[in-house]
């Protein structure tokens, strides 16, 4: 900690030596509905503007207002964006949780708090900075009813002082937040921030080690949540039909998509829409609409979470068997059942793959960052039309609803791929077609769209038994041939879905496999393992199901392979056990976390070491 602190009288113990720069997490504990969001965003943005890698996580309850909420901003000069278990810098605004929040702090950490809460006495090994928020706000904001709103901005000023955050950056972030139209509100908030800064400056002596310094690690980066990134992917994929039913944590995906569609997808002259969005009556309807839209030629999608997935089971079985394209975004939350709607989990991985009765297999994409949310969402529409089936884009609440620093998105490099669709002209040439005939030997049949002006265009779509010409059939051979072709089609997908990202460390005996948000924890954990345990590891991040042979080779190439699952039943590992040779899966070990919080590196490291030392 800083010399200043060392010289002070009070007995702060256990704090790290020297000052800690650009490597800590700030937790703001408030009550939901109390409007702290702006203050938190501004704080996070100001760090980002100073070139420091940041990520922000909101841990909120499944109700609308009045319960405890924690917003955590992590600054990491190494660029770690995952959750950090330890809180270094607490801003305690919520009387209900203040004591517990303080007791949870590591020795040497910081607690800024609302003076009346009177927390100082709780611990001796924490740096306390009491702030009389109400007094300050009363002084700066004269309209009483606005005080509640600006009050939070005060702690931005206080924190800025205590961490050496440039107030100019706070101001800039604030102006941008409110935009031109809300200049008055911006001024009001800026006043509050300044008041906080001045109060801190005139009152506190910094005794803690944490501070920020300008870096240059955010160039070419943006800050966005995964749901908005998926929405943008859909926008640039040229999505035309969106049917949905609201459910946390997927609602904001569609709601931001609607915002973008309104801005960018209306015909210049006529003002008419090149899309349709329908809020359906439930998920049975939303998936039915999406699939039929795909059937009729639209690039269609829906977004949901666990309970919606269960309700979609019957229709998605139809999509597999009748070969109907659509994209289903599953922003996973904690199951089973209603579970914990505002907590995160990878709890649907195995379930999506096998969804619906009978023999079915469904492809999934696993974005590992907002950048990949954009790219893969865009690609998902190509895949759904190429393979004429439901493509799941599987993310989770952590990726979908939290705000991340990520690389700026690149404009799609290749044109839209619409798959094997026969036009009226094709049909004239061919004189007809067999809807479920494997012409090309890849298991993918040709289709026509309703409305195609050709007497040979029509075929009959059904979920009951059919032959290669789409005629009703109960024949043993027709059924088997069709099911075998569907399997072939699925295997064809292996080389078309996004390949895994593989980092093989020469000579490493230990491998790690993960998907989605586990990547943030695993990447950091690999450094911990190297630096703390000098254990070198290889890493394969799966980006899609079905798997390809790289997964096989990776497992073959290592003695022990840890599969990271954010669920109780090791669903990702299970999927490998189903699909891979037991000789390989025998090497797999399971790392599971299922408490509903974003996975952190320390948990992964500890789990791996426990099993390594066992």
């Amino acid at each position: 900690m800083s010399d200043a602190a060392l010289l002070t009288a009070d007995a702060v113990t256990g704090s790290p030596a020297g000052s800690v720069v650009n490597d800590f997490s700030i937790q703001v504990a408030t009550v939901n509905g109390s409007g702290s969001q702006t203050a938190n965003t501004v704080l996070m943005r100001s760090l980002f503007q100073m070139g420091i890698p940041v990520s922000g996580k909101n841990m909120f309850p499944s109700n609308i207002a009045g319960l405890p909420t924690w917003f955590t901003i992590r600054a990491s000069k190494k660029g770690y964006l995952g959750r950090r278990r330890e809180v270094d810098f607490l801003v305690a605004m919520n009387a209900e949780t203040a004591q517990e929040d303080v007791m949870k702090l590591a020795p040497g950490s910081v607690a800024v708090y609302d003076e009346p809460l009177n927390l100082k006495s709780l611990r001796e090994d924490v740096h306390f900075y009491p702030v009389p928020f109400d007094k300050i706000v009363a002084a700066t904001c004269h309209e009483a009813k606005l005080r509640k709103l600006v009050k939070n901005m005060i702690y931005d000023g206080v924190v800025a002082y205590l961490l050496d955050i440039d107030m100019e950056e706070i101001h800039k972030a604030l102006i941008r937040q409110f935009g031109k139209r809300k200049a008055k509100a911006a001024d009001l908030n800026w006043g509050a921030a300044q008041a906080g800064f001045d109060y801190a400056k005139s009152t506190f002596e910094k005794k803690h080690p944490f501070r920020v310094e300008r870096m240059d690690a955010t160039a070419g980066k943006i800050i966005v949540d995964g749901n908005a990134a998926c929405a943008l992917g859909a926008l640039f994929a040229g999505v035309t039909v969106v049917s949905w039913y609201p459910i946390t944590p997927s609602s904001s995906l569609v709601e931001s998509l609607i915002g973008y569609l309104k801005r960018f997808r209306h015909d210049a002259e006529t003002g008419k829409a090149t899309y349709a969005v329908v809020q359906a009556e439930d998920e049975l309807a939303s998936i039915g609409m999406a699939l039929a839209a795909g059937w009729a030629g639209a690039r269609s999608m829906t977004a949901t979470a666990g309970p919606g997935i269960s309700l979609m089971a019957e229709f998605i079985g139809l999509s597999y068997y009748a070969e109907l394209p659509t994209v289903v975004f599953d922003v996973a939350r904690v199951g089973p059942s209603t579970g914990m709607p505002t907590r995160t989990q990878q709890g649907d991985v195995l379930k999506n793959a096998l969804l619906s009765h009978g023999d079915t297999k469904h492809p999934m994409l696993f974005p590992g960052s907002p950048k990949e949310c954009f790219d893969m969402s865009c690609e998902a529409f190509n895949l759904s039309e190429m393979f004429q089936t439901t493509i799941f884009v599987v993310t989770d609440l952590d990726l979908g609803m939290n705000t991340w620093m990520t690389d700026a998105f690149e404009y799609p490099g290749k044109p839209i791929a619409r798959g094997k669709v026969l036009s009226a002209e094709d049909l004239d040439r061919l004189g007809g077609f067999g809807r479920y005939t494997d012409v090309d030997g890849d298991g993918i049949p040709y289709r026509t769209l309703p409305g195609t002006a050709n007497k040979n265009a029509a075929y009959f779509t059904r979920g009951s038994g059919h032959n290669a010409k789409a005629q009703y059939s109960e024949r043993e051979d027709d059924y088997i041939n069709n099911m075998d072709r569907l399997l072939k089609k699925f295997n064809t997908m292996r080389s078309h879905v996004p390949a895994p990202v593989v980092d093989v460390h020469p000579g490493a005996k230990v491998g790690i496999i993960a998907i989605g948000t586990s990547d943030f924890a695993v990447s950091e954990s690999r450094d911990q393992l190297r630096e703390e345990q000098n254990l070198e590891t290889s890493y394969l991040r799966l980006r899609a199901y079905p798997f390809n042979e790289q997964l096989d080779e990776f497992i073959k190439g290592h003695d022990r392979v840890y599969v990271v699952d954010q669920n109780r039943d090791a669903q990702l590992l299970g999927l490998m056990r189903l699909d891979l040779d037991p000789a390989q899966t025998a090497k797999l070990r399971s790392i599971r976390y299922y408490g509903g919080l974003p996975l952190d590196a320390r948990t992964v490291t500890e789990e791996i070491m426990k099993q390594e030392n066992a």
Binding site: F236, G238, T270, E281, L284, A285, L291, A296, A298, G451
Partner: protein, 353 residues
Amino acid sequence: MSTATTPPPPKKVNRLGLEILNYRGGKTTLCAGCGHNAISERIVECAYELGLEPWSVAKFSGIGCSSKSPAYFLNQAHGFNSVHGRMPAVATGALLANHTLTALGVSGDGDTASIGLGQYMHMLRRNLPMVYIIENNGVYGLTKGQFSATADIGSTQKTGSVNSLPPFDCCSLAIKWGATYVARSFSGDKKQLMALIKGAISHKGLAVLDIISPCVTFNDHEGSTKSYNYVKDHEESIHEIDYVPYFEDIAVDIEDGAVQDVSLHDGSRLRIRKVERDYNPFERGHALNALDDAETKGELLTGLLYVHTGKPTFIEQLNMVDEPLGTLPESRVRPGKEVLTTIMEELRTGGAA
């Protein structure tokens, strides 16, 4: 003389020059005498006489004997036999992708009023522009004759067990909650059925046809209120109705006041001739009360129960471009590079647009 020389008789064709066989479907697998088969035949004849382009039609259904029937008409139209009770969602999705399709759906009373009631109601609310035919036999034919939610109180199953729950009247629901063309008919009433189906196809908006279609195998016995005999005895047609297609230019000289014309979206007209009763199909409240009275009297009213032309459809409300969304070129659905640049800048700076 030798037959070799006589020319073949000229083929009968419609205004598009298509023969009726261009409108036929596959061989039915339904029971001989099933009302559903009669309805399929009417659909074939209507499509032929109207001169629809077969490929401009899309057929939809749920699951049931009735829902199998789209395979038995219009082979040259795409068909979608979906899952049980969910035809409304499927038709909606297809129309979103291509609103230029003529959507023709066939469902059953179980498919619509039992498992499908929720979707049916939400479709009504949306006034989805399609023809929605309910082949109503009061039972689940395909699963061997259990009561559906349109079975009348007191009607008996073949097994003898009696239905104790009141029926849902799909017409009453349709009139009240948003359909704009609502008719009831009987699979055996060829003339009325033809006029009503043609009218439904010419109508812009949701046309619901609740057609009593007896199940000869499981619900045509004494004690059934959906048997041929029962329906023949209790049917009360509220008016005589004829369809005048726009392309047959007949002077509209309505000689007596008992005749009224309903002009439909495509310029065709329904000509309604009053019989005994005074029935006003243009007045929602009137129609609903008439259905209530009839129910208490045990009468089965058939005819065009309610019509409301010009009400905006769900598709119109969405303000889509004129072309089908499903086949818009990339240039119209993928925004340009500059758009992405703008958005990236917003996300970099956090600045609102």
